[in-house]
Symmetry: C2
Subunit: 170 residues, 2 copies
């Protein structure tokens, strides 16, 4: 499903959770740096918004590659407190077409900066109870520095630029 | 099981894989920074060497905490090539008592540098096929910067200082 298809689907400025969540998988254009008679494996960016519980194993499996020695992940979870108040859950809303486009830009920026292989960004929407994941970012690369730096960049940039909001249920 | 118990068990300078792998779990001494009438949750360092396949979900579950909003992970996987040669698997050996002590020092260093909550370091020994994990490091913290920096520090320091060797099967 392309970004445009998501744009033209049932999402609008309010968050609407799809009955079947959008899974956006694109091949990036960078050439493979390796050729060892393996089946060619195109680099991919996988972006998903969903109201379902996120799985760290599922997201990491999407980026693991025989060409890579490193996978770095960031998992954002709901904390039970905020500014001294007890928190029950966080409610996430996104302006989905723009959010998906902004995350796609972040993936593109990462590929300009570091030779990474696969990138996956999964964001949960709606209510996220304490200790459950609201976001999982995973990046694979041949060597460790690239994926570590890319994941830090991704979450910092996502927090600064992507139209996703959270409300505290206290 | 304490580090000393591992020291005095069947391990010696050659890698010997335990029939039941050592799982070392200690409470770190730092006080809890939060008190929200939750059950107190002591910080812990979990270090494990095993010949079994590593699970990213298992390791991440060990560090997820209701007090934390962030989990960062690094997963080292076997790459199918090294210096132009095709690789079938990597064989890992460790001088276990010293390796475990050095990882414990890294955990202690991390706690000096950043206010992290839980740290887990799992290392597989023996043969690790292409795309499978040889190491998983997971760190949780209230906010994201601390766990991201701690994971980078942990893998860089582990690679530089911990007596774990790999042989390529090409």
């Amino acid at each position: 499903m392309s970004s445009l298809e998501i744009n033209s689907s049932s999402f609008n400025q309010e968050t609407k959770l799809p009955s079947s969540p959008p899974l956006v998988e694109d091949s990036a254009c960078e050439p493979l740096g390796e050729d060892l008679n393996e089946v060619e494996e195109n680099s991919k960016d996988v972006i998903k918004f969903t109201s379902e519980k996120l799985s760290i194993d599922e997201v990491s499996q999407l980026v693991i590659s025989p060409l890579c020695g490193a996978v770095s992940l960031f998992v954002g979870t709901t904390r039970n407190n905020f500014e001294g108040k007890k928190v029950i859950s966080l409610e996430y809303e996104a302006y989905l077409p723009m959010a998906e486009n902004e995350i796609r830009k972040i993936c593109s920026d990462i590929r300009q900066k570091w030779p990474v292989k696969h990138i996956a960004v999964f964001h949960r929407l709606g209510s996220v109870p304490v200790s459950e994941a609201s976001i999982i970012i995973a990046v694979s690369s041949a060597h460790r520095a690239e994926s570590l730096q890319a994941v830090s960049y991704a979450i910092d940039t996502l927090k600064a630029k992507v139209p996703i909001w959270k409300k505290l249920r206290v």
